[in-house]
């Protein structure tokens, strides 16, 4: 069935004025457009967060450097962390979820299109509010600028006494606002998946991307909210004279840590699970086999979601909890390695016996597998609590979590970009530029983050604007910084690829990858209504069934 454009001869079509196009985009409630808005928004903040990272790395290139003052440095690492987590990774993942989930379940849009738009603009406003702090943070007292309390804003550093002016307020309010946007999107994703699946698509037939985003959205509901609660408490302390975290009045700094990490740990699984979703869609297509062990993949993800709510204090092993508490969090943290490891095995099991095509999406997925394995293992090392008493708060941890967020999540995201960009724009991204992007980024990544473990082992703490010579950290930091610049070049190559392919890329057609899920049955890009007729499905791979009527999946499920 053709969904190519029908050409009517002799018809004059007026160009739509650009103002009208702009208006459409600003007022859209279409999940696909909102998805793209989220993604473009995230890319802009990726560049901002990346600049902050480069400033950090230039300052740390050698000991006693004075590229920036300590005050500026402390703002840089606070803003870098806050930006990357809340205004890059979360929006880009929400963007992909927004775009793909309705298409993959055969729906015409999300359950609540206007809530969808509202949530996007709320989150977008949060990011702008955060960055306004550079200008407006000076407040009435003349003190303060961008927030500089670290992205965790530990008590009592975030209290009025130690954080005068309004910089910490910008941190609090920006995250509170964008947090409500995230909750709105999560509600939308859950309602969409539970209520709008096309006929025949039982939950056990949903693509894994839908399942994993369902789990992620459920986690958002109970994860972001503890942070919101803690931030409301912080505002009460800062503005109404409250004592929630006021140690002088008997309050507890450790309570803030508990509340923060009850959010903070599941949050990183919220970031990781959609990355798992990308892998689970891309690897099967480029291995030419279905995902190995679909039911277990679902069960493992659900158990990761559940167990992740019980591991939070592994960020607090040095805080002085008693040995029983430390042991409890050690075992839950080690336990979560089991379902996570299972997923790695299932992905390799998918590749095993396949016919692997090394297109750019698959290259990034293979990078993910290698790096996620290493990151998981350095995580297990830190779960061995006494080992963590050395590793915690040092550059070893910084290397570990960047391995997770950059080496795993960002690699998966790059794969997702190359895989679904054709669907979103109708054009293929350049394979040649993609390979340059991949190899440059891989080399830069490993140069930076492999080496970064070593200063941690040699005693270099995190969040220091400078360090002493003679500790043996100089050369290592120099190498780390060089790797950062190589990654920056690779990202620029990527951005160039995104832009130039939009105009000059090969036409993609409906299904450039010969894939099996419903989004590939529509045109590229899909029409506003997604499907002319609502599809009816009988298996997990409806397009496989169509392409292989002699051997459909529906026979085996």
């Amino acid at each position: 069935m053709s969904s190519d454009a029908i050409t009517i001869q002799g018809l004059q079509v007026q160009e739509k004025p650009w103002v009208d196009t702009l208006h459409e985009w600003v007022t859209t409630v279409d999940h696909k457009r909102l998805g793209i808005l989220y993604i473009v928004y995230a890319l802009v903040f990726l560049l901002l967060g990346g600049i902050e990272a480069l400033i950090i790395r230039i300052q740390l290139m050698h000991s006693h450097n004075n590229f920036v003052s300590p005050q500026v440095f402390n703002r840089m690492f606070t803003m870098h962390g806050t930006t990357m987590i809340f205004f890059v990774v979360m929006p880009v993942l929400f963007g992909f979820a927004n775009y793909l989930v309705p298409l993959m379940i055969g729906a015409r849009d999300m359950a609540f299109p206007r809530l969808n738009a509202f949530s996007f603009w709320l989150s977008a406003f949060g990011g702008i509010l955060l960055y306004f702090s550079f200008l407006g943070g000076s407040g009435l007292y003349g003190a303060g600028n961008a927030p500089d309390v670290g992205w965790w804003a530990y008590a009592p550093l975030g209290a009025r006494a130690f954080s005068p002016g309004h910089s910490s307020d910008y941190w609090t309010l920006a995250l509170l606002v964008s947090g409500f946007g995230s909750i709105g999107t999560a509600i939308n994703i859950i309602a969409t998946i539970l209520c709008l699946r096309c006929p025949g698509m039982k939950l056990s037939r949903m693509p894994l991307l839908a399942w994993l985003n369902l789990v992620m959205a459920g986690m958002v509901l109970i994860t972001i909210t503890p942070l919101s609660a803690a931030q409301i408490m912080l505002l009460i302390d800062r503005y109404l004279g409250g004592h929630f975290f006021d140690t002088q009045a008997g309050g507890s700094a450790v309570l803030w840590m508990h509340f923060f990490w009850i959010f903070g740990h599941p949050e990183v699984y919220i970031l990781m699970i959609p990355a798992f979703a990308f892998l689970s869609e891309i690897i099967p297509v480029f291995s030419r086999k279905p995902i190995f062990g679909y039911p277990v993949m679902v069960a493992a993800t659900v158990s990761i979601g559940l167990v992740s709510t019980s591991v939070w204090a592994h960020h607090m092993f040095t805080v002085g909890m008693n040995s029983y508490a430390n042991s409890f969090f050690a075992i839950t943290t080690m336990a979560i390695g089991v379902p996570t490891g299972i997923k790695i095995f299932n992905w390799i099991g998918t590749m095993w016996g396949g016919r692997i095509q090394f297109k750019v999406p698959m290259l990034f997925c293979i990078g993910f597998l290698f790096q996620f394995l290493i990151a998981g293992l350095t995580g297990i090392m830190q779960a061995a609590v006494p080992f963590d008493w050395q590793l915690s708060l040092s550059y070893f941890v910084v290397a570990h979590f960047h391995y997770m967020i950059v080496g795993a999540i960002l690699f998966a995201l790059f794969g997702a970009f190359y895989y679904w960009y054709p669907k979103m724009t109708g054009r293929m991204l350049s394979e040649r530029l993609g390979k340059w992007h991949f190899w440059f980024f891989l080399i830069g990544f490993h140069l930076t983050f492999d080496v970064m473990h070593v200063p941690g082992l040699l005693g270099m703490p995190r969040r220091i604007y400078t360090y002493e010579p003679g500790r043996g950290w100089d050369t290592l930091n120099l190498i780390v910084s060089i790797g950062a610049f190589i990654q920056a070049i690779a990202v620029l190559v990527f951005v160039w690829n995104l832009i130039s392919s939009y105009f000059k890329g090969a036409k993609a057609g409906n299904d450039p990858w010969d894939a099996w899920t419903l989004e590939w049955s529509t045109s590229s890009p899909p029409p506003a209504y997604n499907f002319a007729t609502v599809p009816i499905v009988a298996s997990r791979r409806p397009l496989w069934d169509l392409k292989h009527p002699e051997d459909p999946d529906s026979q085996y499920e």
Partner: protein, 335 residues
């Protein structure tokens, strides 16, 4: 161009530093750090084996199952899963977790719940923005930033037990060669112990971001022989040296705001907001390790702390040059 090169090339260091051995967590000189090394070696071996196994499987699958021109046109066998294989790769990781956990729990208890023996030295460490206060309650000593403790003989241990408190924000006490780090949290006293097995200087620094000058809240532990430690204790227990040649400086010191923050016992100066200066010259560095304890640095610090440690909480005292010289001379008599 000049700015770029000043950023890329190391400047002359503000302070000369002795080339101490690298403060690696893999060169322990104290029981807690040694137990940690043993555990971490065990963990590294296990994770190393897992790494090798999985990377081999990954590498093999990439090489063996790539699409070639021969097989590219046919779809491979569509395998959905395998119960036996999936069970196996669930059970084995569970067993690994159990083993790792038991090893970990043992060391947690050994370090955290170790009882304090009778001969232990007791130190109370109080974290400040951005310096360390050390009190030896049983010995009547108060000092700052540089900790002196006796070496501990394994056959007759004299460990040091530290009580960790904070006067303001969170800090963390980390000397990698001696122990894992423990935080100093206000309103949440903590406890840790070290028993260094050799004499020498051990370096570390604050590991929990505590504000602007977190980076220069350095630690210097001097592990002394029993005789040297006893001599040091005696010296610290003395009253401040009264040197008549420094009378002018002492007058200025005691009539300026200095005494609101600093203590020189037993003079009227009894402030506790800043480090105790009674035996300032017994320390090798000032400003919590940010500068060597030399007359020039001392004078510069009093004149303009931000020149050495921008953002530290000591204000520039705006003394005239003459007053500054006098006060610096007075400081230099506080041996």
């Amino acid at each position: 161009m000049f700015a770029l090169s000043s950023v890329l090339l190391p400047p002359r260091a503000l302070a000369e530093h002795t080339h101490a051995p690298l403060t690696s967590i893999f060169s322990p000189e104290s029981t807690p750090a040694k137990s940690i090394l043993d555990l971490s070696t065990f963990v590294l071996v296990i994770t190393g084996i897992i790494f090798v196994v999985v990377v081999t499987l990954l590498g093999y699958s990439i090489l063996k199952f790539r699409a070639t021109s021969v097989n590219a046109d046919r779809e491979p066998a569509q395998v959905y899963g395998s119960n036996q294989i999936e069970l196996a790769w669930t059970i084995i990781p569970v067993l690994i977790v159990v083993v790792l956990f038991l090893a970990t729990a043992r060391v947690i208890h050994a370090i955290q719940d170790a009882p304090e023996p009778a001969g232990a030295v007791e130190v109370t460490a109080i974290g400040h923005q951005y310096w360390w206060e050390f009190r030896y309650p049983k010995l009547g000593i108060v000092t700052a930033n540089e900790l002196h403790i006796p070496v501990s003989d394994p056959s007759n241990p004299t460990p040091t037990f530290l009580r960790l408190l904070s006067a303001d924000t969170d800090h963390s006490f980390w000397i990698p060669e001696l122990a894992g780090k423990t935080d100093l949290v206000p309103n949440h006293p903590n406890r840790m112990w070290i028993d260094p097995h050799r004499t020498g200087i051990f370096l570390g620094q604050c590991a929990q971001y505590c504000g602007t000058q977190h980076a220069k809240m350095l630690l210097r532990v001097s592990v002394d022989s029993p005789q040297d430690f006893a001599a040091w204790v005696r010296g610290q227990q003395q009253a401040a040296v009264q040197d008549s040649s420094a009378m002018a400086g002492r007058q200025i010191f005691e009539h300026t705001a200095c005494i609101n923050c600093h203590t020189v016992s037993p003079t009227p100066a009894d402030g506790r907001f800043g480090p105790d200066l009674t035996h300032l010259m017994s320390r090798t560095t000032i400003a919590a390790g940010a500068a060597e304890n030399t007359p020039e640095n001392l004078r510069l610090w009093i004149q303009n702390p931000d020149a050495i440690k921008p953002g530290s909480l000591m204000p520039a005292m705006k003394l005239s040059d003459a007053d500054l010289d006098a006060v610096a001379i007075y400081m230099e008599t506080l041996r």
